[in-house]
Symmetry: D2
Subunit: 292 residues, 4 copies
């Protein structure tokens, strides 16, 4: 029996990058959180403390900021691909790279009925994400969003479920359904108009959430994934994770009041947590696209 | 010398209330975080452990939810006034009440080009707040907003400041100015169209932030307060608190790159923190309007 | 009517300072979060954008780190006094300074039965705090702690309270009492052995929480404050704030199980929130000691 | 091509359970955060909205609280095994269960030199965790800890690393090394004295961190894992994740001060992030032990 080094990774997490485009008086801004992670021939760094093949995480950070100038940010998927390919191609000891990017949205502040040239306000709902994996000879692009908080005040039921000796939940044909959606989708190839695809998927996730009469959050997730795949041949698989943010109708009868689903307490914990993958049965292999 | 009880308060914090209005198929929702705090004749509860005059915080919570049904939520300022007046008028031992409300914004999800009847998405920038103080014979209303994250990519400088032996900061005529604004304003009377006033103040804060060429965050705060007071005779005082969310231009010269204010690192801590009050010199007395 | 500038402050918040004492192989460390805030003759910075009298927050940050070397950290109350007195005495435009410090505790990691010379582990319960206010001709020292999480599994009741039309809470003679205590105490003079006083107060707060049979959280706070003042003539006033972290006994009767206060659900929100001051009736005036 | 349902799970996350043992006046408490997650024959719930085979997450929550009474909490690994085996054995549609538990430590408050019978204080460093996976015919137990914050004020260097065109980091033979450790270890079998093993592993992780002269965080992680495996034949694999919480020596030369590694700024973001697995080359297969 011997003790050996297993899978390992290292990188610089959460490089908070603001890129300003100021070629004209009408500026544009991009606000990113970029994390890098590398793997490869790094056993000596662990086992012998020898750093000769280790590119410091500080250098990775520098690369993120320098590339934002040299190459621009562009689409975050392309920015992540460019970073990942650089590390794999240009650093001998690196076999693979994972680049995660979050993008925070901003809109122009309106002044006198027109968006201002260089003043911006954070927008709200949802953070755009990407996770790109690059290995020698291949790359996978996963795009996504998170913290998209949505709620239906009706059009959701929960009934007909399995009952065991620990089941006390009453059935309901009308409840509030609320979640903070995380969705990620894997592209079949890296030849995509990323922004257009992102915007269309986001719209479809929202409209499917709204339009689906939900018999369970599971069903809503499936419908979301199915609609996205039907409309987007460039996407091979969708993964959805959704906490069920419970809203409990408050019992007002002690105060002589009826409560026909009008007054709710929004609970924090515990919460239901549902996750599901929806995919094509002929989807190209995922490789290490999803590896955390 | 004796040891005595000083100022004291108690209440129920962070009642998370969702109110659904479903009188027609086109629902409306209001999403609030309500905190109550009472003071009065409660020395015995402290000194002798005698609760005879203490309305439990659990009852205060029940009141919040029941009033949301009985009276509706309406404007959050009115909801807070109604709650505060109830506690002061109807509970003998209560001399004063402070009701704090946060309101989270939601917009309708768009489906086929139209806002959906009962599906909603959290909106982004800024949380609406109110803090209402009610005592026997009076009431103060403070409205506000917080977490309004704004940024200017130019139109901000910092120069001409005092230099001491610990000053190393270089002057700049062009920097990024970013903050997460908290603004609160005290009304001269409770006879106001709260929503209209709120919307107008928010718009003015944003447009002033955008339009002011800033020689310091202090100046921006002053201009915000001044513009609000000039346009809103119903407001007696504005208080503003703004962290200076530093964005540092990254030195790219080691990589042979110029950085003419295009690539920034968004820092977390430390941050500048600026607060200021702007008020009318003939403003009615603040009473306990601002008491935390 | 004119619009005027009211109270205003500015400073550098959350300077995260680690000070290592390495005069011998047996190192000591001090881990602080230091915030500065100044007020004085700063109207021009607001109203005219003129920074000539404004010491940059960047310089304040530099001062914090430089003083940690020049003067050492010592007691955090002394460190804050030194910083505050410097700003008031040495910067003409400054009339007053407020210095807030949080200290995070560390203990030595044990190796072979002995605390290691230079390896440390964060300790747990509670963060030590101080808030020092310096003006020309005076200073106030408030010491304290926060995030001290404590719980009693019995020895707490809640009964005999006022009942109104919104009261449904059943009385109990035995409940769990849990809180995350914040305590702050104002010294009558700055001539104190700060660490010794802090340690003794912390011990007394804990032992009083434990030993008091609690008829309400209010009573527990009073007893804490009273005991501290009786034992510590150097302290003029104690202020306590305590969220009532509700633990609800779970109803297990649907599953044929009794629950004699053995199984609880720890709830997040809402929570009771109790605050009280306990002071000497001949305490010296508080000045601006407590100003936020 | 068809669109199909891929891997999916559901459960109740973050059941906050306090269990009081009060068989004698000297109480014991256990404070847990329990999350359940189930998979199996649930396609109909997604694709057709049919809940007939779905045990509600509310029932899972009830089971957690009821089992805390029926079976007691005992070791958290056993509690998780009991819960997981119940769901797999007793609910036909369930093929597998993952139970995650966090345990928060408490110690007795000292009164008159003795730990109090029923008053407790949260302890500090580190949260104990377990993740148990149960499938028909097998079970895997992963134990661990997280949020164990440790720091070395010397005995750490970083030099000899790979330099590319984006490398500016100066080499150092003496730096501060700080991290918030997350460690998880997989047991070879479920026949272990869990508490004894946990305590010994925690001690070894700490002492190895302290005693290892670190040439990189990678090396420290390897040494931790290696030492644990050498001493604990019951453990098959250790996985470690450690953010490198950078402490930067502050340049005090502008103020005429040397800084021989005495004054540091503790930075927030970005941070290095290192993860590694250390395992036996003859370790039993991991099955789905690590699945998130």
């Amino acid at each position: 029996m011997a003790i050996v080094l297993g899978p390992n990774r290292y990188g610089k997490a959460e490089n908070r990058l603001l890129r300003v485009y100021r070629d004209s008086p009408r500026h544009d801004i991009r606000d990113l959180n970029v994390s890098t992670s590398l793997w490869g021939d790094f056993a000596d760094a662990h086992v012998r403390g020898d750093q000769a093949k280790v590119l410091p995480t500080d250098s990775q950070k520098n690369t993120v900021f320098a590339f934002a100038k040299e190459h621009g940010v562009g689409e975050i998927e392309d920015f992540a691909l460019t970073l990942g390919r650089h590390f794999v191609a240009d650093v001998d000891s690196v076999d693979g790279a994972r680049i995660d990017v979050e993008e925070y949205g901003w809109e122009r502040i309106e002044v006198d009925g027109r968006g201002h040239d260089h003043a911006f306000m954070r927008t709200g709902s949802g953070i755009r994400t990407t996770s790109v994996t690059v290995v020698e000879g291949g790359a996978w692009v996963v795009a996504g969003l998170k913290d998209l908080t949505v709620l239906k005040s009706t059009g959701s039921e929960y009934a007909g479920y399995l009952r065991d000796g620990y089941t006390t939940l009453p059935e309901t044909r009308d409840r509030v359904l609320a979640t903070s959606l995380e969705a990620r989708w894997r592209y079949a190839s890296p030849d995509v108009d990323w922004s257009e695809s992102y915007a269309a998927v986001r719209t479809m996730l929202l409209s499917t959430f709204a339009a689906t009469h939900s018999r369970a959050l599971q069903q809503t997730l499936w419908e979301m994934g199915r609609h996205v795949l039907e409309a987007h041949p460039e996407i091979a698989e969708v993964r959805l994770t959704a906490p069920n943010r419970h809203h409990f109708a408050v019992d007002l009868t002690p105060f002589g009041l009826a409560n026909p689903n009008e007054v709710f307490h929004a609970a924090d914990r515990p919460y239901g947590l549902i996750s599901a993958s929806v995919l094509r049965d002929d989807a190209p292999a995922a490789g290490s696209a999803w590896d955390a």
